[in-house]
């Protein structure tokens, strides 16, 4: 019997749930995180939460459809958005409004999407980020192709792809890890472990001690990070992204977080989830801990933070107005984007539809 391979999985946290850093602010600065960065982190998390709250309200009043909230996951999602370079490519799931907003997507675009209008994924800032992706984990395969493209073109770009704890059970997730390993692709896989896949708790999703260890099956390293600690998330993401960018291959980060609300507006978590568990999870709220840090370390004043909230509110309200004022797409939009050029049989169907709608009038 001889040992032929050995692996370890590490966990890291920098800003704990009571708002204390386990390194000095100077050390943080030397790692490239300024006070301004911390304030920006907070602003983006606050914006995400404000947007999220509004989106749920809009759903309740029938202005948008089913919405998947990112409540509780603002730290990791914002860290991704703030750590990536603009020319990198983000490959989301569906719970990633926070990241999208950091990346430059417009709020009214996201509302259009959740409001049932495809134009929401035609980003105005027009980068190459992928659209929301609903079939769980299928986006992981896209990240392989995107990163392969970077490699082939010798571009120093990175693909960052996210999925949930549930997503780690899907074949596409593993096939992608394995392929990323084979070609040593510049991909950072971020598993946002919010402890639940709808009603299925993390413990029933996998017998693995950590989800980070799934990376071992791809032949590269994985680590856990406190996903509610935006400082730690940023630091670990920075390293992983830099490694990927400089040709050191893929990495997996399991961000440990918690879904602080229903799965989506169509779900009722009280059917399957303990109130106490939820209450405990709120103690680890990512916003509160950064708020505490900013105040305690006098990086921001209460007034400044209130001001931020006001700004966020204004930004959200303006976007909602813009969304609500957007005129509907014509019926022809159903047909126009199926092919670059519409085949005649499809044109015939469109003609028939328009005719039938006209005759109804």
């Amino acid at each position: 019997m001889k040992e032929v391979a050995q692996f370890t999985i590490n966990y890291s946290q920098t800003l704990n749930s009571t708002g204390q850093l386990n390194i000095t602010l100077d050390a943080l600065k030397s790692q490239g995180v300024s006070f301004e960065d911390l304030r920006e982190f907070y602003y983006h998390m606050l914006l995400a939460r404000t947007f999220d709250t509004k989106a749920i309200a809009l759903q309740r009043t029938g202005r948008i459809g089913t919405y998947a909230s990112c409540l509780g996951q603002e730290a990791i999602s914002t860290a991704i958005g703030q750590t990536m370079q603009p020319s990198d490519v983000f490959i989301p799931g569906y719970r990633d409004a926070a990241t999208f907003l950091c990346r430059g997507a417009k709020m009214h675009e996201l509302l259009l999407y959740w409001g049932g209008d495809e134009r929401g994924m035609n980003f105005e800032h027009n980068n190459q980020d992928m659209p929301y992706n609903v079939p769980i984990a299928s986006q992981c395969c896209h990240s392989v192709g995107i990163a392969y493209a970077f490699k082939l073109r010798k571009q120093a770009r990175v693909a960052v792809v996210v999925c949930g704890d549930g997503g780690t059970s899907e074949g596409d997730f593993y096939e992608s890890l394995n392929a990323a390993g084979v070609w040593q692709l510049p991909i950072v896989f971020v598993v946002i472990n919010n402890q639940w896949a709808i009603s299925v708790p993390r413990s029933k999703q996998s017998a693995c001690e950590t989800l980070a260890q799934k990376a071992i099956a791809g032949g590269f390293s994985g680590e856990q990070v406190d996903g509610n600690d935006i400082v730690g998330c940023h630091l670990q993401l920075s390293k992983a992204i830099a490694n990927a960018r400089t040709g050191n291959g893929p990495q997996l980060i399991e961000a440990i977080s918690y879904r602080l609300t229903d799965h989506t507006t169509a779900d009722d978590a009280s059917r399957y989830r303990d109130d106490q568990e939820l209450a405990d999870a709120w103690l680890k709220d990512p916003l509160k801990r950064l708020h505490t840090l900013l105040i305690n370390e006098k990086i921001s004043s209460e007034l400044e933070l209130q001001d931020m909230q006001t700004q966020c509110n204004a930004q959200v309200e303006q976007s909602v107005a813009q969304y609500l004022a957007t005129p509907a797409q014509p019926v022809s939009a159903i047909f126009e984007y199926m092919y670059q050029e519409m085949p005649s049989a499809l044109q015939q169907q469109l003609d028939e539809l328009e005719q039938s709608l006209n005759s109804e009038v």
Binding site: V134, V200, S356
Partner: protein, 329 residues
């Protein structure tokens, strides 16, 4: 002992059928995502885990190919798994196991092993759901040899057909039109009576033309028939119900009587089940035809996000227009 009778919605009828069969046949297992404590995202499996335990009502990891393939393993071992795919839009990764193995195990082993399993999934549009939650791709399954595809269109038929599916010795895909999960209630007698899996249901007798549909679109089809009746056109309405194998006889006899046929289906037009029905008539009932066979169906487009969804779904008006067109031919 009298059987319980209740006003049930379709989703309740599905649940009632599952409860019935689980209580009389201990080999029935239910598995899928969120089928346990949550009772399924539509509550089809509500209360099952409480009643029958975690071993028989299984929350699986989030992996559709696993669900489908695991059901095969259970079935060859003599269980009767009823596997749920949460939405038909996520059934494609389960398809490989189904077409490669479930549908072939009996043939491959010359009957030594078989695959009595049911793959349930809610399907169809019209509920303003997100992308991938409105699929009607039953045609893909209808092309697979060795299986049955069943679609109920009312609570009572959901109850009877699901019982039949669970008792069937071969794999069955059971697609539930989620738009009408709660659209209406009707009296369902929970007496364990299954419905046959090889006949259409004629929902309305008529002599002028034959309207064929299945699942949720029968709502619009029946409305159209009613409206046509007011205009003096007497439509026969057939609920296909068993999409595979198709009950050709009922269809051909009806068209022989009426001479005219309109097929209503929600799926993208090209290659939908409506095409097969039309082809059967053109092959075996052509001489009955007094007019072209019109398909009122979804477009050859993706189901749009919900703001434009209504323009994808076939409408009562479109069915009436088609019916009049074949009548005036």
């Amino acid at each position: 002992m009298s059987s319980p009778v209740a006003e049930l919605t379709m989703i309740e009828a599905v649940n009632t059928a599952l409860q019935h069969e689980m209580s009389v046949d201990e080999n029935i297992l239910v598995l899928g995502e969120d089928v346990g404590a949550n009772g399924g995202v539509f509550r089809a499996t509500d209360n099952l885990q409480q009643r029958f335990g975690e071993l028989r009502v299984i929350d699986t990891p989030l992996a559709e190919s696993l669900i489908s393939g695991m059901a095969i393993g259970l079935a060859v071992q003599g269980f009767k798994p009823v596997a749920e795919i949460q939405f038909m839009g996520f059934i494609y990764t389960a398809f490989d196991q189904f077409i490669c193995h479930a549908s072939r195990m009996r043939n491959r082993t010359r009957g030594r092993l078989s695959c009595p399993m049911v793959l349930r999934a809610p399907f169809g549009g019209g509920i303003h759901a997100p992308e991938h939650h409105s699929e009607s791709t039953e045609a893909i399954f209808a092309h697979v040899p060795g299986i049955r595809v069943v679609i109920p269109s009312s609570p009572a038929r959901a109850y009877g057909l699901l019982l039949a599916a669970m008792r069937n010795p071969d794999p069955v895909v059971f697609l539930e039109p989620k738009r009408i999960y709660r659209a209406q209630s009707e009296l369902v007698i929970d007496d364990g009576q299954a419905l046959p899996l090889d006949v259409c249901f004629t929902l309305r007798q008529g002599s002028d033309l034959t309207l064929i549909s299945w699942g949720a679109m029968l709502q619009e089809t029946l409305q159209a028939a009613q409206s046509l009746a007011q205009q003096g056109i007497d439509a026969e309405v057939i609920d296909l119900a068993t999409i595979k194998p198709i009950d050709k006889l009922t269809i051909l006899e009806s068209v022989e009587k009426t001479g005219r046929c309109v097929i209503v289906c929600e799926a993208a037009k090209t290659g939908a089940v409506a095409a097969e029905i039309s082809a059967i008539i053109a092959e075996e009932g052509l001489t009955s035809l007094l007019a072209p066979i019109i398909r009122v169906s979804g477009h050859d487009t993706v189901m749009p996000l919900f703001k434009l969804e209504q323009y994808y779904m076939p409408s009562v008006a479109q069915i009436i227009t088609a019916a009049k067109k074949v009548m005036e031919f």
